[in-house]
């Protein structure tokens, strides 16, 4: 029980939405990589339908090195949350702070810069560019941001995911697990503070999925990135520090698997 309390304190006194008396920023949680304050996302419905609320007043603060799993049924708002967290979309209301920058204040160029520097994405279907080799895929974010010596850093990341030997291979020459490891290396190549993973094991067998989860865990612990992973799998979620269960766009429950282990 003590362990639970310590973890919760370390995470900046997060509460399920509605229970927060004031925004985390005002609470002075300067270590938060991502803060979402009453973030709501509505999608306009068709003429004869009402609007769909994909995320409803979500409030949470994600800290450096924290591995959070988002679970819930399809349509519960996991992906919407990842999009808001990744500065790919704006909330209909509420606030999203990434490294103390309010996304609503940024223009397209600012958002792009934020993604380039602070955020890494991992997808269920790997999303490697088929015309680029493994190492070229990994160095792509660095090339897009104009960083110097991208190849060296890309190779380091590939080595980190134990794919250095296959750096020259094209995606179609790699297995699913290998492709996802390359995708993780790509997501980490620019040292992001926030790693967003959408069903990263959804397309992999159990053993390969475990390898990927271990890498994500290492990213959180060794590189200090906040990892936010959407998953359907309870087994995958169990690896995380925190499990946020979403239902109809609101937090249903927050659990801490580490405390129960």
């Amino acid at each position: 029980m003590l362990k639970v309390r310590l973890v919760r304190e370390a995470q900046g006194a997060n509460r399920p939405n509605g229970n927060l008396s004031e925004p985390p920023g005002i609470q002075g949680s300067s270590m938060a990589v991502l803060r979402m304050v009453k973030a709501t996302k509505r999608y306009r419905g068709a003429a004869d339908e009402s609007d769909t609320v994909a995320l409803n007043g979500f409030t949470y603060s994600f800290s450096e090195g924290e591995f959070v799993a988002l679970v819930g049924r399809s349509g519960c708002g996991k992906t919407t949350l990842l999009n808001l967290a990744g500065a790919m979309d704006f909330p209909s209301s509420g606030e999203v702070w990434i490294h103390e920058q309010l996304t609503g204040d940024l223009d397209d160029a600012g958002l792009t810069r934020l993604r380039r520097e602070k955020i890494g994405f991992i997808f269920q279907f790997f999303q490697l560019l088929p015309t680029l080799s493994a190492v070229e895929n990994v160095e792509l974010p660095l090339l897009l941001s104009g960083a110097s010596h991208p190849r060296k850093r890309a190779m380091e990341c590939l080595e980190w995911v134990e794919m250095g030997a296959l750096a020259g291979r094209m995606p179609h020459q790699l297995s699913g697990g290998q492709m996802q490891r390359v995708a993780i290396a790509r997501a980490l190549v620019h040292d992001p503070k926030l790693l967003l993973a959408d069903e990263p094991t959804g397309n992999l067998d159990t053993a390969t999925g475990d390898v990927v989860l271990r890498l994500l865990r290492r990213a959180a612990t060794e590189q200090g990135a906040a990892v936010l992973m959407a998953t359907h799998s309870a087994e995958s979620a169990a690896v995380a520090d925190t499990v946020i269960r979403l239902r109809d766009g609101v937090i249903e429950d927050v659990g801490y698997p580490a405390c129960t282990r």
């Binding site: 992906t79 279907f125 560019l129 088929p130 015309t131 897009l144």
Partner: protein, 846 residues
């Protein structure tokens, strides 16, 4: 019914959802078809009308009797006295200018009395009593005159006034405006200074079994009374030869107009390929649900047919508009080079609409065959596959390259074969083989280029260029088709540019050698190509007597027929050619020796087109048809000449002039004494020709006029090239839109990875830039090869002349830059589409 529903759901709906891309494909095929239809319609209108001009009042004659310099009237008397059931119609023909309208009209002299006796009266208001009046004329109703009106015409070098006796309507045989002037035979002879001479005698054989059986004996009987130099030939042989030449001209234009359609075919192929690739999963589902292999194929063939039918129908309408714009230019060329004619109205018939739709559909279906077959090969299991399958089906670049090389070698081999019936069919075939042959080499070329640049491109041009280059190399089939389309258009532009540029330069150089005199004179009356109106020789004598004049060349040209082909025989002061002219002879021939020998006897030199058409060269003997009978002449040499594709035989005036009954000339070239200024000389000559209908042209003006005709001849060619390039660039825009739609996942992913909108836009622009670069490079290489075929095979075999190869650097650089900029501009809409993609929607769709 079910098939229609399936078509609507699987094919039509997606096409409607992408209106820009569908419209671009449709426009490409419509334009391709329109150009072909326009050239045919305009060609028909421009050339078709010439039948009506000099053929007015020609009956259904079986034979005609004609001779160089005319046929003496007593020949007609001998013929009519033959105990044969034949009818003879004598004619005198000349082109004149109607002063009021400025139009060139045929003046036809016929025996009106004989015609009246046979009941062939010209017009309802015609009265034969008018024959008592000198200068009575019947005019075609399109001249806008009425009986009793005066009619002023320029005949040869004189102004004459006739009186309209009657107006006759269209005879029904005519295809163009009815503007002929018909006068009685003696009036025509007087007006044209051909007293006692006829131009032609038409011979009609009445329908009877006897006549049919005895055709040979009838011919023999007539030939027995014909004097030397007068020949009996099939009726309309001259016109037929002209038609053949005009046919070749139209055939060349047709081939050129087909290029836009070939480019359109490339683009249809690309459109259907994209359709197939994009709907692989859907087709997989349909196959799993019971759609047969043939059914899947039919769906995509139906898509192509829909494009073809709609594009073809639109093409017909567009073709009509283009034809109306082109007919004037085309008619001017036909008039300058082939026959005197007035353009007829452009009429779009049901046949043309049907042809247009059939052409569009056929080209689309042929282009869609390969992608449709691929659709048929989609297995039901593909429905189960998640994720996007790449557009590109792996193609073997080396296998394609081998096939391409084989086609190119075959094309090269065909260039050595002779023409078929005077048409360079193997040359055309070689051109047609070279285009797909080069297209097949493109995958290997792109791969090699990619390999050579892959390490450097990122550091040189940035990550966007690197991604664009990878995308192109990764989608070899799509890239190859697009490069094929644009390169074909660029190649045709380059090859025609090189050919026309070379031809133009050669003609300019040739004019330097030919036009050495200071002033040139000719009768003001119009003349059909290959002939010139006569001028009184006394004009030349008077000019020669002027103190400012150094020398006068009296030149006369007469149309002749040799071996059934029209040609020209010209004779002038050949002694002047030695010091003044710089006439070029074919390599190996001694110019000075030839020109020294030419005035000394029955010797001639022949032009290069004549030499090629009749296989005659130095040392050969030629039977030259002259008044009074054929004359055997020795050919001393072959000279370069670009004035007529008919070919010219040239001899000395003092040797051949005496064979012609009239002492007349067609052209006078005046060389002024050294130190005499051009203006001073021109004024002195003007005084001599005052009151005469003679045109005086300075050397420079004559050159400018010749170049103007030259440029006008090729104006339509440039327009065709322009349309082909427009179609290709439009196709490029459509293909880039398709490319953006196909690669929206990758483009969206880049946004997730930190790419800005500007970078996404830049990527699309780089793809267009690289495609343009490769297309221009391939197009220029192909264009160079095609130019060699055009210059050394097609032109030589079609027209018989050789010209020096000239690389019109500035023109090509300008055109290629323009095309390149157009290609870049075509990426504007696709780039905007790419930048507006919603990455979240796209990534989660997958």
């Amino acid at each position: 019914m079910h098939a229609l529903k399936l078509f609507e759901r699987v094919i039509a709906r997606p096409l409607i959802r992408e209106p820009a891309r569908s419209a671009l494909t449709l426009a490409a095929i419509a334009l391709g078809v329109a150009v072909v239809i326009a050239i045919d319609l305009a060609g028909y209108a421009a050339a078709g009308s010439f039948r009506s001009s000099m053929e007015t009042l020609t009956g259904k004659a079986a034979f005609e009797i004609a001779g160089v310099g005319g046929v003496k009237e007593d020949v007609l008397a001998k013929l009519t006295s033959l105990p044969l059931p034949l009818r003879f119609d004598a004619r005198v023909e000349e082109y004149v200018r109607d002063v009021k309208s400025g139009a060139t009209v045929p003046l036809i002299g016929v025996d009106l009395v004989a015609r009246a006796q046979r009941g062939m009266v010209l017009g309802e208001d015609a009265s034969l009593s008018i024959l008592d009046t000198a200068n009575a004329a019947w005019v075609g109703n399109d001249l806008g005159l009425r009986a009793g009106d005066p009619l002023q015409i320029v005949v040869q070098d004189r102004l004459e006034t006739l009186r309209v006796a009657g107006v006759f309507a269209d005879t029904g045989e005519a295809h163009g405006p009815n503007r002929a002037i018909v006068v009685d035979l003696p009036v025509a002879q007087r007006l044209t200074h051909r007293a006692g001479l006829l131009d032609r005698i038409e011979v009609s054989v009445p329908e009877s079994p006897l006549a049919r059986q005895g055709e040979t004996s009838i011919r023999q009987a007539m030939e027995a009374v014909l004097p030397p130099g007068v020949e009996l030939r099939e009726a309309g042989a001259n016109m037929e030869a002209n038609r053949k030449m005009l046919g070749a001209f139209r055939w060349n234009l047709r081939i050129l107009s087909g290029i836009a359609l070939v480019v359109g075919a490339f683009l249809i192929y690309n459109t259907i390929s994209v359709s197939v690739v994009r709907r692989r999963a859907e087709i997989g589902v349909l196959r799993a649900l019971g759609l047969t292999r043939a059914g899947a194929q039919s769906l995509f063939l139906a898509e192509a047919a829909a494009f073809g039918l709609t594009g073809g129908a639109l093409g017909a309408v567009l073709g009509l508009l283009m034809a109306q714009a082109a007919v004037g230019v085309l008619a001017a060329t036909v008039n300058a080079l082939y026959v005197s004619s007035t353009p007829a109205p452009v009429v779009l018939g049901v046949g043309h609409i049907a042809a247009s739709v059939a052409l569009g559909t056929a080209v689309s279906l042929v282009a869609a065959l390969a992608p449709a077959r691929e659709a048929g090969g989609i297995a039901p299991v593909e429905a189960m596959a998640r994720g996007r399958r790449d557009y590109d089906v792996q193609i073997s670049a080396s296998r394609f390259a081998l096939a391409g090389l084989a086609l190119i070698l075959l094309g090269a081999a065909l260039c050595w074969l002779p023409p078929v019936n005077g048409r360079p069919l193997f040359g055309y075939l070689a051109t047609l083989l070279l285009i797909p042959g080069t297209a097949l080499l493109v995958p290997a070329f792109v791969k090699a280029l990619h390999r050579a640049t892959r390490r450097r491109i990122c550091s040189l041009l940035g990550v966007e260029a690197m991604l664009a280059s990878r995308s192109l190399a990764g989608s070899l089939r799509r890239t190859s088709v697009l490069v094929g389309a644009l390169a074909t258009a660029v190649a045709m532009m380059a090859s025609v540019g090189i050919m026309v540029g070379s031809f133009r330069d050669t003609v300019m150089l040739w004019m330097d050698t030919q036009l050495t005199a200071d002033l040139y004179l000719r009768a003001a009356a119009p003349a059909p190509p290959g002939a010139s109106p006569l001028m009184d020789a006394s004009v030349a004598d008077a000019i020669e007597a002027l103190p400012v004049v150094e020398a006068v060349d009296r030149f006369r040209t007469v149309p002749i027929q040799i071996g059934g082909l029209p040609a020209s025989f010209g004779f002038g002061e050949s002694r002047l050619m030695l010091p003044q002219g710089r006439t070029h002879f074919l390599p190996g021939e001694n110019r000075e020796a030839i020109l020294r020998k030419l005035p000394t006897g029955p010797f001639v030199i022949v032009s290069e087109p004549f030499s090629r058409k009749h296989s005659v060269g130095a040392g050969d003997t030629l039977s030259l048809p002259l008044p009074g009978g054929a004359m055997n002449v020795a050919v001393l040499g072959v000279y370069s000449d670009y004035s007529s594709e008919r070919g010219t035989v040239y001899g000395d005036r003092h040797v051949f002039g005496s064979r012609f009954p009239q002492r007349a000339v067609t052209n006078i070239a005046v060389t002024l004494k050294p130190g005499i200024r051009l203006g001073e000389g021109a004024r002195a000559v003007e005084k001599v020709i005052a009151g005469k209908q003679v045109l005086l042209v300075e050397n420079r003006a004559l050159r400018e006029h010749a170049i103007r005709i030259f440029d006008q001849t090729f104006a339509i060619t440039w327009a065709l090239e322009g349309v082909a390039i427009f179609v290709a660039v439009m196709g490029m825009a459509g293909a880039l839109v398709a490319l953006v739609i196909d690669r929206r996942r990758e483009l969206s992913l880049l946004c997730f990875l930190g790419a800005s909108k500007r970078q996404v836009r830049a990527l699309v622009y780089y793809e267009a830039a690289l495609l343009g670069l490769i297309s221009n490079a391939v197009g220029l290489a192909l264009g160079l090869a095609l130019a060699f075929i055009l210059i050394y095979v097609i032109n030589r075999q079609s027209f018989g002349w050789t010209f020096q190869f000239h690389w019109p650097g500035w023109l090509l650089a300008g055109a290629v830059t323009l095309i390149y900029l157009a290609t870049l501009a075509s990426a504007w809409f696709p780039a905007r589409t790419a930048a507006r993609l919603n990455p979240i929607e796209v990534i989660h769709e997958e």
